[in-house]
Amino acid sequence: MLDGDPRLSLLLALADDELVLGHRHAEWTGWAPHIEEDLAFSSIAQDEMAHARLLYGLAQPLVGLGEDSVAFGRRPVDYLNAWLCERPNGDWAYTLARQYLYDTADAVRLEALASSAWAELAELVKVMQLEEKYHLDHGRAWFRRLAEGPVTARQKFADGLAATVGEAVALFEPLPGEERLLADGVMPRTSEDLLAQWLEALGQDLEAVSLDFVLEHHGPGTGEMVPTSSGEIAGGEGDLGVPGVVRRDGRWVHDGGFTGGGGRRGRHSEDFVPLWEEMTGLYRAHPGAKW
């Protein structure tokens, strides 16, 4: 599916992140800790899915499939979302840690893509940014509240951050065909450059609340993301290794580069297929149905 126009890799990586994380967020509907937050998180979930839909719409002419088919008619190895998005929700602290990390990272890449030479993408990204502000506000508000909150809440949040930060780094795994995307100006900056920007800001946020120790768990040599069971979907490349994170000259930076292939190469964790089966079940039962 990804042979040919590298813009498809970019669109699917962005859209699949939004769709899959939106699916996970939606699993909180009816179960969030209180009703106001239940509505808030459900709205965020719907935003993410709406953004995925916009991106799939842009991908349609590149892939030659209808919107629903792009979203739900692909094989698991054709999804390019990062592992972070497909992981089960865990507890509320894990979910909020992931939402904060994802949406701060998403803001960095959207800011870059807003100046893409591909005008249609740049315009679409500007629309998405208007709603992503909701998500950033939500993530940052909970970040402050939990980081400065009661001991138990702070500890659970720190655990959630420590569990997710390595896979959040992998949001910036280089895309197939990235060199051409950069040469054409579709991507104004490299994934690694965006990672550096995000990590520096993340480090400042965490230092401000004395939670930067969670980054120390991801020092050099600790970033390999080895699949944890035989359920992993092989995408045809070696295991993904992500850069480590170190504090150097007063700021947090990545150390080393990405190796192997992860979500951006269609290589997923053992958690993806059960999610995919549920998410695409209706479509697969009634392919081509009109609603």
């Binding site: 209180h34 106001e36 937050e37 509505l39 808030a40 709205s43 719907q46 935003d47 709406a50 953004h51 839909r53 916009l54 629309v127 208007l130 709603e131 502000k133 909701y134 506000d137 939500h138 508000a141 509240r145």
Partner: protein
Amino acid sequence: MDVWDVLGKRTAGDEFVVVGGLKAPDAEMALLLARETHFRHKEGVAYAVRRRGEGDLHVGSFDAEQLGGVTDRSYRRQEGYVGVGAKLKRVREALATRGLAIGGHRPPARRGGEREDAHA
């Protein structure tokens, strides 16, 4: 946890009026939750919260352009379902020509406890 009144302006020329309420520990969270629970479908152009029983109004920072989102949310409003009944009728008729019918129970149209003959 405190109860907060949620206030909104439907148009820029309106005064703030109470549109609902919610529970939140402080003004920051009350504003965030007010925005998420009352102003996600273009219900207004400005929003605010006020701790119930107090006079201080805390006005939200999102402007009219941002408030309510920008992507298609018609499926979350009543008008998004205009035509569903007619579509169902067409599908029923098409199935009937093939000797088929949509199975399954429909929920009762009456409220619980109402007598069936009350609608006769």
